[in-house]
């Protein structure tokens, strides 16, 4: 089974802190994605990557950055956390290199609260 793990299930940070959310997949997938999920808004794509050291902006990249130094790991970084970044963050992966519309496998999510 594909396994996508996220470093924390729950995280509480203060405004202005730098926050790292880590995601690791064990199926050698090329594509990895970061979403945020908010009530009534569904899933919104923040960033995605289709190869090591490659990254592409999604629909809502403002206030976020990403890092992909190894194929299995994709990190989401909040440079200076703000209260409007309180949300559920979901990581996903899929095979296929630049084919980013294949089936995605999701991690359990990280619920981030920024105070």
């Amino acid at each position: 089974d594909v396994k996508v793990t996220q470093s924390s299930r729950y995280l509480v940070k203060r405004t202005g802190e730098k926050v790292f959310l880590e995601c690791v997949q064990d199926m050698d997938h090329e594509n990895m994605f970061w979403y945020r999920q908010d009530p009534g808004l569904g899933l919104r794509l923040i960033y995605f990557s289709y190869d090591v050291k490659m990254k592409e902006k999604g629909d809502i990249p403002e206030g976020y950055s990403v890092s992909r130094e190894k194929k299995e790991r994709f990190s989401l970084i909040l440079e200076s956390a703000s209260t409007n970044q309180t949300s559920m963050y979901l990581c996903a992966s899929s095979f296929g290199g630049g084919i980013t519309y294949n089936e995605q496998f999701f991690g359990p999510g990280t619920r981030l609260t920024v105070l």
């Binding site: 996508v4 994605f33 979403y35 009534g40 808004l41 569904g42 899933l43 794509l45 995605f48 999604g58 979901l90 996903a92 980013t100 519309y101 294949n102 089936e103 995605q104 496998f105 999701f106 991690g107 359990p108 999510g109």
Partner: protein, 111 residues
């Protein structure tokens, strides 16, 4: 640009009743279509997918979906709902770009 609409925000059904969750998409060609389910506090799990071929697709947990090109729809159905089906359901469409997800339909199941 592709988009997905799930018209129903919240649906309540009785246990044992049939279920249909609606999904409409906007895209010129035939896209890849997916239904995912999210149990409370969990990530998303794939229920079924449509890429091509037979327009009636069977998935896990007794779910099925039918692709109707003329109506740009990919509705999810289950003949008899179980209490454990209470969750949030997301339809997604993909075609040469990352998947676009609908805003979800929350399913409540009552006894």
């Amino acid at each position: 640009a592709q988009s997905v609409t799930q018209p129903d925000i919240h649906i309540t059904v009785s246990e044992g009743a049939s279920l249909e969750l609606r999904c409409n998409y906007s895209y010129g060609a035939t896209p890849y279509l997916f239904w995912y389910v999210q149990s409370p506090g969990q990530g998303l799990q794939l229920l079924l997918k449509y890429f091509s071929g037979d327009t009636l697709v069977q998935g896990i947990k007794g779910f099925e979906a039918e692709f109707k090109r003329s109506q740009s729809s990919f509705n999810l159905r289950k003949p008899s709902v179980h209490w454990s089906d209470a969750a949030e359901y997301f339809c997604a469409v993909g075609a040469y770009t990352p998947l676009v997800f609908g805003k979800g339909t929350r399913l409540s199941v009552i006894a």
